[in-house]
Symmetry: C3
């Protein structure tokens, strides 16, 4: 089955999504529409694997926010497609950037990994790994913030810039508090069943829409 | 083992192919050579998944026919690579086109899906899905036609145009009367065993060569 | 865990590597640094499958040696990325070249296959097969040579040219004395467990560093 829902949540009500897996569609460039993900555990992290599937018809020179986790004063973890097509993430400060093929028109599976103890950071695109970079060794991501898809919050969930918003499909967003193995990440790309993601898991996560976010509900795999 | 056969079937005899899997090779641009697939059930379809592996050294601006199913008066289902590199299919009328990466020199696994009840249409390239488009909601594909690889029939199996013919390798062509899940299609790309395709299955299908079609027979997987 | 070791083996001592899988890093263009692989059986071969994972930031017009097996007087099996981006291999004489997508910045899984009885030669890039070419039918690769990664030996392990050296990461190099099936090779790309490679297997092979070769040791998969 293939069903589509639109949420206009002016009341910012909590919406219980239909059974997963669901695809979020941001149809237009806005500075109002986003989806909040409620994590299962605090994001006090010294390592993570963050994965998602995205498809966007945005092309050319444009920044695209892919994921934002912000506490009161810090962009704790922001994930971007940069102006020049590189993928990057920022842990409250300067970021780490990766040269990768352009996001094309097909769905792309992305994973970002980071481990504080070694500083090892990498990106996986459709299961294929980038060169490893050393970044923010010893750093800890702080808990108590909020996770959003679709917008880059320049303060605590406000001041959005439409020119940085996400337009397209995003789904299968999952986060672990450890670095998964290369083969496990290749397996995720291949839809191989994994243990439930322990920071948040797309199949079970509570999502809160703000503004108009379209949700396409697809049959279980 | 690696064996090669050439069929020059001027008598249009039915040839029993060696045990599958086999690769069809169309070595030259012609308006005479094609392979007919005999389906196991009538193509009265309100949904389908059609998959194949192709490799072609054709490049630049050229239309390439990838699959044709035609009844007496209608091109019921034609699948194309368009002049500009897009992939498309046509259900007796205007088609639906998908922006995808160019077919390169390596073998490419393609699947096309369509469901009449929602109109959802998509292409999968090496397991990766395009954006979904809504196309021909409520339509039914008509039975009683013939399926051919290699040529585009402008009438019931005749009037071929060499400039639209397929040149290269094509194999592992399978069709189902339903839309497979994204993960099942990723699995097909990865050669994961699936249930037998129920409209026709490359491993068991009867094939009828017309003109010169080379068949490379490879060992079972 | 993520650990890094550097070997400066001026004494050409045999170094027992930490438990695999390990990644070799050639950080700079040199004409001195290479790694020798000790095979488990003599390379008297009438067929082979040779696979590896590579990532390099080298781009533009530059030859890159990917693998060299040389006896006293012959380059028995040299594998190259050519100036124009094609992949190739040479069995003591003229080579066979394959048009493929450029090696990008992400890790790429490569397999090269050849079978003397038919002459069938092919390349697989991230599991996807090139067109098959007929090459050196009836030839036999001679035993008694040495296998090296990182340099092209113009005589028996000497006369290196920095401009042809490998720069980047290379690992998961495995060789079989037969041609694996297409689906088995797709499985290797997907990290699916296979039987141990019987000419040499990266997980168990003895490696001998010459000059400075960095080894990154990663956790078992």
């Amino acid at each position: 089955g293939y069903h589509s829902f639109s949420f206009f949540s002016l009341l910012q009500s909590v919406v219980s999504l239909p059974t997963s897996p669901s695809i979020l569609v941001f149809s237009n460039e806005t500075n109002t529409n986003y989806m909040e993900i409620i994590a299962e555990k605090p994001l006090q992290l010294t390592a993570f694997t963050l994965c998602m599937r995205v498809a966007t018809e945005l092309s050319g020179e444009r920044e695209i926010i892919l994921f934002a986790y912000r506490t009161n004063n810090f962009d704790e973890l922001n994930v971007w497609r940069e102006l020049d097509g590189r993928l990057s993430f920022y842990l409250s400060g300067d970021g780490v950037l990766f040269q990768v093929p352009y996001l094309g028109f097909l769905q792309t599976h992305l994973c970002f990994t980071w481990d504080s103890s070694s500083g090892a950071a990498a990106v996986f695109m459709n299961g294929r790994k980038s060169q490893t970079k050393i970044y923010r060794k010893g750093h800890t991501i702080r808990p108590g913030g909020r996770i959003i898809l679709g917008q880059d919050p320049d303060n605590f969930l406000g001041n959005f810039d439409a020119k940085q918003s996400f337009v397209g499909e995003i789904f299968d967003v999952n986060m672990w508090d450890s670095v998964l193995s290369d083969s496990a990440i290749q397996g995720l790309f291949n839809w191989r069943k994994q243990d439930r993601a322990n920071v948040f898991d797309w199949q079970f996560a509570e999502l809160r829409p703000f503004g108009a976010v379209e949700v396409i509900n697809v049959d279980p795999i």
